[in-house]
Subunit: 358 residues, 2 copies
Amino acid sequence: MAVTLRTVAEAAGVSASTASRALHGSPLISAETRAAVERAAQELRYRPNRAARSLRSKRSQLIGLVLNNLVNASFHTIAEVVQRRLADEGYQLILSTTDADPAREEALLLTLADHGVDGIVVIGSGQSASATNGFLEEGVAVVNVIRSSRDSLAPTVLAGDRDGAYEATEHLLSLGHRRVGYIGGLLGADSGRERFRGYSDALRRHGLPVDERLVVQGPFTQRFGAEAVDELLDRRTGMTALLAANHEAVFGILPGLVARGMRIPDDLSLICYEDMPLLQMWQPAVTVVDTGASQLGELAVDLLLGQMRELRAWEKDGRPAGVEQLRKLTRTYRVGAQLVHRGSCAAPSTPSPSERQR
Amino acid sequence: MAVTLRTVAEAAGVSASTASRALHGSPLISAETRAAVERAAQELRYRPNRAARSLRSKRSQLIGLVLNNLVNASFHTIAEVVQRRLADEGYQLILSTTDADPAREEALLLTLADHGVDGIVVIGSGQSASATNGFLEEGVAVVNVIRSSRDSLAPTVLAGDRDGAYEATEHLLSLGHRRVGYIGGLLGADSGRERFRGYSDALRRHGLPVDERLVVQGPFTQRFGAEAVDELLDRRTGMTALLAANHEAVFGILPGLVARGMRIPDDLSLICYEDMPLLQMWQPAVTVVDTGASQLGELAVDLLLGQMRELRAWEKDGRPAGVEQLRKLTRTYRVGAQLVHRGSCAAPSTPSPSERQR
DNA sequence: CTGTTAGCGCATTCAC
DNA sequence: GTGAATGCGCTAACAG
């Protein structure tokens, strides 16, 4: 704390501004002065005070990351990737969780603004477009991830949910299954809606109707998963395959299936959404739709860094960052889902006579 | 950004200093002025600039959390708990990962200092005592978690590793097992050392020697776990129970056991360290030593907040925060481990004749 | 190329 | 009780 820019400047026998310029690699500095200043800084172990710099230059080297929680594998994977990449670029990450509560999200965004973050990555409710657009207008970079936001001007990185579910369903159908069950999230969530669409599209493509008796949708909880399995099995629909498109529910679905004595893949073929160690190690290992959490995080960071450069350039040009200008940023990116084949899928066994009558 | 304390002051018809005092609940302010200022602040949606406040008052409302990664369940659980608790107290969390690299840890601590954090929670290498002690001397609160640090003056929150391993081993012995295998971390790590000690102590207590053929220690990786299982099984030691005390290795141990056709608990009783969904859902569900990640996080936050109050008080008194003063903080806390009984332990089956001959 | 001058927004002396 | 003055540490005009 004791050694400030001034200390360094005095040690090097120059003024504070010269020292500042030298340390920032300004071109209008003689080689000798620069060397002298750098040496002084080194010797004194000078560390610039970020608060002061932030106050003066409106640049905090802080990036906010807003997400629901860290339990979900996709979320903590993204958090880790984003953190690492940003640290390499000299930014620190302020991480905060919202529990998917829009009110907390809103409050959080304000707090992040208070701290003068240079950018934010939001895995949000999709309801804070006005808040995040406010950031952009203030020159703060914004990237939405996983959940889109209707009126947001910021770029959005989404998973390939429709295609992933389509491909998974298609795979099951191509194995010969005709009664494919679906356990998913509520249609209020992007992922819930898109994955269900992928499922429906694939069925339709094969000339099959969407049988609502084969479909259960509910909240992102383990409990729902357990209930959904019972529900589906109790309905006696002749289901021979299941697409578990609700990640949290998987924790209820897997034990539910075991409890009901379902053998995988003999009695039921299974594909789960979002990969995690549990699914790799399950017996048999579960075929999954990998949504590419790491890639989502990487792309989000790339977009954020690019946007920060862009915003800085605009600012320099003195151009007003009006809405028309900001619209140039508005774009949706997709990280394609990947079907990872493991051991939980097989051709359906010959239906029993009673089933054949359907 | 436009509305500053000055704006509020003018709107309320007072000076900036009065506004500042009013907003901070200073006692020397008339009720009317306070009301007027508060109303103005409300109406103008005034948000204090943290950078300015930090620069002036040496208080950033930022707390640093340093840990290896977010993949490990204990780590991301702690991160989530710490984040939530601190957010409730008005602090934001700067999260950063080190990959257990002491050099990165060192650099990180400096960067956190640059940002003027009010406190740090370190799940570290134990090698940065001088750095963290430096924080304390500057009035920045420090709490070590999970890993102790020889010369650190800061309080440390540790898991009950010796006792947890002791209890687990004791449980296996009390079931009648005499050949209890052990797969653990390297002795360089606190947890590796302590858990092994618990294992040894329990054996000794039962008058059994530590048979090094039953013990494998290695790095915290999935790969090591897989190799360790093969190693142990190839040695044909007559092992009837196994304590898997290396969390990361569990991801290799479980599939390894399946691959070798070991039936749990018939052929082998198993206890794993650090609970996670995978172990709850494994077939059979695995008995574990729960290290209490949430509780570790909670306690760390409690200690951090308490320490911050204390440091502030000392500062006010103008007492020098010398080493003798700081030593009052130095104390080790333990969060007791919890043995969670599930279905992976049973009495050993009657040994085969060949085994009996040993 | 370099030094001088001015704040960024806030909290805290010191006066009254 | 309140206002005026000061400076936290730094960067960015503005002059030379």
